[in-house]
Symmetry: C2
Subunit: 82 residues, 2 copies
């Protein structure tokens, strides 16, 4: 069993209104040291190894369903599940 962690972030050139809103709230709360807030997604899943290669599977799933590659980037890590 493999555990896969996928990090999905907005591409740098894309505005992040959710991040801006959070940053505004943090400033209002007195955390003026904070800047460049960007918000993405973090997915964890398990893959039961089959004849298919885990890397190929993860890339396919990311590109077909999990991310919007026009506006988002992703990276992932595969580890042995306990």
């Amino acid at each position: 069993m493999k555990k896969v962690k996928i990090y999905v972030t907005l591409r740098e050139s894309i505005l992040d209104p959710q991040g801006s809103a959070v940053q505004g709230s943090l400033h209002n709360m007195g955390y003026d040291e904070v800047s460049e807030v960007r918000i993405g997604k973090f997915l964890e899943l398990q893959i039961d190894p089959s004849e298919r290669d885990v890397d190929t599977l993860v890339k396919e799933m990311c590109e077909k369903l999990l991310t919007n590659t026009v506006i988002e980037d992703y990276r992932y890590e595969v580890e042995e599940a306990n």
Copy 2:
């Protein structure tokens, strides 16, 4: 300048309907190897060091605004920003 990465996940005991929906879609698409899909948030931000300690700041921000500690866990990493 410090770069902080914050990972927010639902506590294990909390149901994740968004994760279940994504898992259902992946199964419908033929990715039957996948299980235990959980979806969380991934935040990146920069902190301009002040007299306040970065760890204290991050924990305060997470507990006051960024996470709902009743249903979510968080962990974070601090690195030197380029």
